[in-house]
């Protein structure tokens, strides 16, 4: 790949990459560097000077019960979001794959929620489960169940999970559907001739063949749950009740902007940076594998 035909000159290419370099430097590298730098200091209460504390902010964070709980919350939240968005998507994709007529129409309809912003999804689900006017919460009340996600921690978590997973069902559906379409029909037919019924074929042949897609979606959905669900949580629970829906990204925001604790917020940014880095490496490793697959 390196022996390509190239043009001569060095000024033009430098000019061509300049816009990207400038924008990355100003809005990316400098802020990222600042986050790392600030994480080593504690500003005094008046914001006039700051004191170097080395890894003090990190030590404090890991001894902070709220921060450790936030880690656990994030783990639970992202596991639930990933499952809640992948299982129904796979189910719908399997059904759509069995259909020839109408599959296109169904797909078009199923794509809709993907286009809905997480924050808007939050508003829609908040409306359905609103304690005063929500339709679903009202019918639950008729059934004798008193829904109140403002006070009940498990219900709050359930609601942000479902609202976050909802739009992702579309996304996962598209990938599962494409993967199912690529499963060789001859393999399925052979199994059918051998007398394997539908679910047996599904679990012994189709599901293993889907494993590259499934693994890819696992990583992508975890990344989504970690970093892109801020809007859902901010609109529905604002991290409550008692911080039980405060995931890590939400905590960076609430400590940095609401609590004005810049050193701690910067240290949290750096920790998240490590998390994203790890997830990205997993993703790239996997993609390399997939190319050989």
């Amino acid at each position: 790949m390196e022996n390509r035909v190239t043009f001569k000159g060095w000024l033009l290419p430098l000019l061509l990459v300049l816009p990207q370099i400038l924008i990355s430097a100003i809005f990316f590298f400098y802020p990222a560097g600042q986050a790392i730098w600030q994480s080593l200091f504690i500003p005094d209460p008046f914001g006039l000077s700051s004191q170097f504390v080395g890894l003090g902010n990190f030590e404090f964070l890991f001894s902070d019960q709220y921060y450790r709980t936030s880690f656990l919350t994030t783990a639970i939240f992202s596991t639930l979001v990933t499952l809640t968005s992948m299982v129904p998507a796979l189910f719908l994709a399997v059904i759509a794959d069995r259909l020839i007529k109408g599959a296109g129409v169904y797909r078009t309809l199923l794509i809709w929620p993907y286009a809905v912003a997480p924050a808007i999804a939050g508003v829609l689900w908040l409306f359905m489960f609103n304690t005063r006017v929500g339709v679903v919460s009202w019918y639950l009340g008729q059934l004798g169940y008193d829904w109140n996600h403002v006070l009940n921690e498990a219900e709050a978590m359930g609601l942000v999970v479902v609202a976050s997973a909802w739009g992702r069902i579309s996304y996962n559906f598209l990938f599962f559907y494409a993967a199912l379409q690529a499963v060789p029909r001859s393999v399925i037919e052979a199994a059918a001739i051998d007398g394997a019924h539908f679910w047996r074929r599904f679990f012994t042949i189709v599901l293993p063949l889907l494993s590259p897609t499934t693994f890819f979606l696992l990583v992508v959905n975890v990344v989504y749950a970690f970093f892109e669900t801020f809007g859902v949580i901010h609109t529905i629970t604002s991290g409550g009740p008692q911080q039980t829906t405060t995931i890590l990204v939400y905590k960076v925001f609430s400590d940095g902007f609401v609590g004005q604790d810049l050193g701690s917020s910067a240290a949290q940014s750096v920790i998240l940076l490590v998390v994203v880095g790890a997830l990205t490496i997993i993703q790239f490793k996997f993609i390399e594998k997939r190319v050989h697959y």
Binding site: Q20, A117, V123, R185, A192, F216, G256
Partner: protein, 289 residues
């Protein structure tokens, strides 16, 4: 191809009749469940506040469609929703166009030139792939505030185009353009930029369009960043502005207007996704590779 072989297979593997209807029924049920939140929002945007305030609200649209949408679009709650729509449109298009433009140029430089610092540059953009804006919000906010760009379109747009996903995509694509084309251009004495404009750009049309769809939705759906830097309601985008429409404290929210706004907020991305479905799916698959 795949489609045809699937039809052939149907007779053998898939059952007909009852089972087929059951499959359709399951699919429709699934779609109804997935669609319900949107439907309910639409219904709520066509009824009165009092109909919503005395639950259960109706499940079929009422007669206040025009009134509610007019109220939302032209008076809104803090600011007319039409203003927020315009802001979102400018932001989303700015992000999509800006990112595509800078990425096309730098990808072209990386693939078709050998220049000092090329490797360093390549690693630089590789690192930007890893950090979403959510992770570096506080310092990025300080940069924007330092430039005096709070409550400005530049402040909304620039930090979100500082990532290299698009550069990578274009690089991958340019590598598939046959070498003979560049060779021929060089033999003909064409200048690099001529080659870029006459050959590379036209060949990249589909990729550009697919990426535009993805980036437009990415920009449109931003929440945290506009929330931080647009303190002036006149600069609010629609996606972040909805939360601002809820009253603080115990007052009752103006649900018909809020739900009309949420429908308005989803219309542009839904239209784009549905009408450019093929490009969208292609863009999705490309940008995740």
């Amino acid at each position: 191809m795949a489609h045809k072989s699937k039809i052939e297979a149907t007779g053998m593997v898939e059952k007909r009749g009852q089972s087929l209807w059951l499959t359709h029924a399951l699919m429709i049920l699934g779609i109804l469940i997935v669609f319900f939140p949107i439907w309910l929002a639409f219904v709520a945007s066509t009824v009165t506040q009092s109909e919503i305030a005395s639950p259960p609200m109706p499940l079929l649209p009422g007669g206040y469609f025009f009134e509610n949408y007019k109220r939302a679009l032209f008076s809104g709650i803090n600011v007319p929703v039409s203003t927020m729509l315009a802001n979102s449109l400018i932001m989303a298009i700015g992000i999509a166009v800006g990112k595509i433009a800078i990425s096309l140029l730098s990808a072209f430089a990386i693939v078709y030139f050998r220049f000092p610092g090329r490797k360093t540059f390549f690693w630089m953009i590789f690192i930007t792939l890893m950090l979403p804006v959510e992770v570096r919000i506080v310092p990025t906010y300080e940069v924007i505030a330092g430039f005096g760009l709070l409550n400005s379109y530049s402040g909304l747009i620039f930090p979100l185009i500082a990532s290299a996903t698009a550069t990578f995509l274009f690089r991958q694509f340019f590598m598939t353009i046959p070498d003979e084309l560049a060779e021929a251009a060089r033999v003909d004495g064409a200048r690099p930029m001529q080659f870029f404009l006459d050959i590379v750009l036209p060949m990249s049309r589909t990729n550009i369009a697919a990426l535009f769809v993805i980036l437009f939705i990415y920009g449109w759906n931003q929440y945290l960043w506009p929330l931080l830097i647009t303190t002036d309601p006149e600069m609010n985008t629609i996606v972040m502005g909805i939360k601002q429409m809820f009253p603080s404290g115990d007052d009752t929210a103006d649900w018909p207007v809020i739900m009309a706004t949420s429908i308005l907020a989803m219309i542009p991305p839904v239209i784009i996704v549905v009408s450019m479905q093929k490009l969208f799916i292609r863009g999705l698959v490309d940008s995740e590779k």
